[in-house]
Symmetry: C2
């Protein structure tokens, strides 16, 4: 459960501090869990994980804190098509988050890093272009592909 290194903890501490927020036990638990799994968990799943690691936060605290963490950019939120928000750690700024391949049938999610190929460059250019065109201050993005994973397309 002590996944976060001292460096990471102090980094998160400072990041929250800048927003006049504290690195409380539930917040640390959420970051710990998301950092550990590196996966996209729903609020409910995160809640269940916190129960395991002793920090028994209330579900509403999880929701409140996820909202906070998303707002200040420490986590990403997205919907895999099942009408339920999923959260993924944002990691250090500059480090690119994942994009997803989402299976419509079994709801499994494959991550792929945007760093491959020229995707990162493309996005950056696109952001600049759209920013100018629409006078819109872009802060982040989400790119997801939907379809059938190997297993499901075989068993069809």
């Amino acid at each position: 459960m002590a996944n976060l290194s001292a460096t990471e903890i102090s980094w998160y501490y400072n990041r929250l501090n800048k927003c006049c927020c504290r690195l409380t036990k539930p917040r640390r638990a959420i970051l710990d869990i998301l950092d550990d799994t590196r996966k996209h968990l729903s609020a409910e799943q995160i809640y269940k994980e916190t129960l395991k690691i002793s920090s028994n936060a209330g579900l509403s605290t999880i929701y409140r804190n996820l909202e906070l963490l998303v707002r200040i950019g420490l986590t990403w939120e997205f919907d895999a098509g099942d009408n339920k928000a999923r959260y993924e750690i944002a990691k250090r700024p500059g480090e690119s988050h994942h994009h997803h391949l989402i299976c419509k049938k079994c709801n499994s999610i494959i991550d792929y890093s945007a760093s491959v190929d020229n995707e990162k460059d493309f996005i950056k250019k696109r952001e600049k272009n759209l920013s100018n065109k629409y006078n819109f201050k872009i802060e982040n993005h989400s790119i997801d592909f939907f379809g059938l994973c190997y297993k499901c397309s075989k068993n069809k």
Copy 2:
């Protein structure tokens, strides 16, 4: 309310027919509304619109049919970050759907067409590449940018 042309109606009719489904009154109303607004409405909003145009379908019928229309590819579903599914007409196959600029503050959504620049080509290549790499049959995608619209970034 009679937005759909005869050609469009018969096209939708055939499209549904292929799936052994009928172009019923509520279904036509949904397509009519989505085609008319060309916007991304929530199930609730679509429901309210159907009430206006006499076709008073139940909300559950709206949900059931949106699910169907998404499944057979006549509409797209996405989440603008407010934990509520939004629907947008897919239009003819081949015609590219919109990508979005979503304001985190006022929740307004700006559409932009993927056809501009080389975005369409990029996506196509990316899909092929990811398909091969992950053995994943890609059917569609969603690309959204989040940030602040002009008004909100001014009033900040």
